[in-house]
């Protein structure tokens, strides 16, 4: 049952399914990506996630570091990540769901 308040309060998280808004989505090309994290830094929706993993270096070696992926759940498809990626590793693709 919904909680009853004497005065206007809100508990529990209100959320809008902003993933539904998307008309284009970002696709990350890991062959170009250098795992710099710029896309995470600028994604307004916090849709870029990071974890520790193996980062492939230009010389073919690997190092341990942050590895970035995009979670489309709430991604609004703004294209900021694609625009800001210094390696052009993200491309915006048309959303076909409609």
């Amino acid at each position: 049952m919904e909680k009853s308040y004497k005065a206007p309060m809100g508990e529990g998280i209100y959320e809008v399914n902003t993933g539904d808004w998307r008309i284009q989505f970002p696709e990350m090309d890991k062959t170009r990506c250098t795992e710099c994290g710029i896309c995470l830094m600028y994604c307004p929706v916090n849709s870029v996630k990071a974890g520790y993993g193996e980062v492939l270096l230009k010389n073919g070696n690997t190092r341990q570091g942050l590895v970035y992926t995009i979670d489309l759940s709430y991604c609004k498809g703004c294209g900021v990540c694609a625009q800001e990626c210094p390696q052009d590793a993200i491309t915006m693709k048309r959303e076909n769901k409609r």
């Binding site: 508990e11 529990g12 998280i13 809008v16 399914n17 609004k76 703004c78 915006m92």
Partner: protein
Amino acid sequence: MTVMEKLAFKEDMISPGISACIGCNVELTLRTVMKILGPNTVFAVPPGCMGGVGVVGWNKQSGAKPPVFFPLLDNTASMLAGIRLGYNAQGRTDINVVAFAGDGATVDAGFQALSGAAERGDRILYICYDNEGYMNTGYQRSSSTSKWAWTSTTPVNASGGGGKRQHKKDFPVIMAMHDIPYMATASPAYIPDLVAKVEKAMSVTEGLAYIHIYNPCLTGWGIPSDQSIEAARKAVQSRYFPLFESSRRKIRITRKVKEPIPVKAYIQASKKFRHLDDEQIQELQELTDERYRFLEAMEQVSQEG
């Protein structure tokens, strides 16, 4: 923790889905700032874009994880000052008491409350996201709107005349002159700088800390969503919005712009300036140069003192 680790692993304090416009850099700013502030925070979001998009919540739900509330448009700083006193009375001094307010609620209607809190030294962290107008209600002008900009209350006629007739209020300087322990300007295009400034502001234990963030508004200014960060960056690169900080009147430019791009390059990013002629653009260039010179002079004086 490196900045990247903070951004990657600190908990997002805001609801994962809020209805800010696609690409909105205020949403980015809010999420970033709140990650740094963390859960031991109470924050005020006055009427404006971020309140309108659901950050305070809807009906019996909240739009954020920490306690959040709507102050009135004009009393954000006073309500927060009261919250601080209430916690002081209970011996709870470790809580961050924070405003995340638009320019309308800060430089216009909320100015007396903010100026009073700054003068009294109320211990709050006040963040203003300056998107140059009342965007949540359809892009009306504020005293922070740039000169000549189109807004719904400073419309432009068919021959390109009109727009706002006054210059943007130089609010960061006004706040710095309150002698507060910390004042900074910041930009969503310079996230590590923003993070460092929020951390400095959090460490203030006596008095008010103020951060003024310049957020070009996509929908209100007419900027394509993927240009969200680039527009903000150009404002800094052109010296139109310099990044600096001050502590008790000691001013330091935190990002020196040695070779500025022309203000015109910044202006061209937004449709709201589309009608400007060369003379008007020149006027904005001169204002920019003048304000930057003034800032450098103040920095100079601060170093001598």
